[in-house]
């Protein structure tokens, strides 16, 4: 039985063990060889290596989130430039007017002006699949479809259309 002050039952003389048996049991736990002096140094070096490894690992653990935080700050600041419009105005929506055309808008029906009649003509050509080439690819997506019709129609209703035609 282990009791306070008697860390090993071999030292308990109340067990009434014969002294020879007790000595033999104690001998079981004695080092058979002397510990080499270099062994402590090796253990110490191993401990130091482990400590350095842990330190590097902690550094990496902090470095990655810190980089992410810096990127987030840059992103927020960068987005801030888009959120704040000129002259104190605030625009949270990117769609404030008709998008600029990729190519100059054309007078599709040849009447000398770009208006809703051009959109109508283009829409009919698109619906009839009567489109050859990318002459009317006004939004620059390499296909002539309803998106180009919308581009023409939105150009026709722009308040500053004189500036774009």
């Amino acid at each position: 039985m282990i009791e306070p002050g008697k860390p090993h039952f071999d030292d308990d003389d109340r067990m009434g063990l014969p002294s020879a048996l007790r000595a033999a049991l104690c001998d079981l736990h004695r080092p058979t060889k002397p510990v080499p002096t270099g062994f402590d140094k090796a253990v110490l070096a191993a401990a130091r290596r482990e400590w350095l490894r842990q330190r590097r690992r902690r550094l990496v653990i902090w470095l990655v989130p810190a980089t992410a935080a810096a990127a987030a700050i840059v992103l927020v600041v960068w987005l801030g430039g888009f959120w704040s419009g000129p002259a104190g105005s605030v625009s949270l929506s990117p769609m404030v007017s008709a998008p600029p055309s990729q190519t100059p808008l054309k007078d599709i029906n040849g009447d000398g002006q770009v208006d809703i009649l051009d959109a109508l003509m283009l829409a009919r050509r698109v619906e009839a699949a009567d489109i050859a080439g990318l002459e009317w690819d006004f939004n620059g997506d390499r296909v002539v479809d309803r998106g180009d019709v919308d581009t023409v129609a939105l150009a026709a209703v722009r308040l500053d259309r004189e500036a774009v035609q």
Partner: protein, 172 residues
């Protein structure tokens, strides 16, 4: 020992990510507060008692011809105060029930160009309401409207002569 170190590493990572999350949230919070604060300074406060809301119906009369496309400019003015366009609604005929094309920049201004077309065969003839424009006007002012036809076409895409006019209405 390794398990403890591993737990310690996980704890550090969690703490680091908490710092990142809090930083991003704080930045977004500051940003949203800034954005929320700007309109107060940039946009004049509307005194609800000083304005009222009404709408204008736009009619196109194409007579016996079918109306396949139309384009109209509307200018709303008032002698006292400022008129602002606040919304665009479609018309009554199925061909023009969807809101017409317009420049979103026209909203909060007094001038807008509206246009629509229909490639279908169910087209209106005669007088038809093609759009409804909602306005904010000074409470004690009577707005004036100028409507100008810019283009209209029949089912063949040929330009046609039509008449346009605007009628003011009050929300019920």
């Amino acid at each position: 020992m390794n398990g403890k170190a591993h737990r310690s590493g996980k704890g550090s990572a969690a703490a680091a990510w908490k710092v990142v999350s809090l930083t991003v949230l704080a930045l977004l919070g500051v940003r949203s507060l800034t954005v929320a604060a700007l309109p107060v300074a940039a946009v004049p406060v509307v005194d609800e008692s000083a304005v009222r809301f009404c709408f204008v119906d736009l009619y196109v009369d194409s007579g016996s011809q079918t109306l396949a496309a139309w384009q109209v400019e509307l200018v709303a003015t008032a002698e006292a105060g400022e008129v602002k366009i606040v919304g665009i609604e479609g018309g009554e005929h199925p061909a023009y029930r969807q809101p017409a094309y317009y420049d979103p920049a026209a909203l909060t201004h007094h001038r807008v160009i509206l246009a629509a077309f229909c490639t279908g065969t169910d087209l209106p003839t005669g007088k038809t309401r093609v759009a409804r424009v909602h306005l904010q006007v000074p409470a004690d002012a009577q707005p004036h409207y100028e409507v100008k036809l810019e283009a209209a076409a029949d089912r063949d895409g040929q330009r046609i002569d039509v008449t346009v006019h605007a009628t003011q209405g009050e929300p019920s």
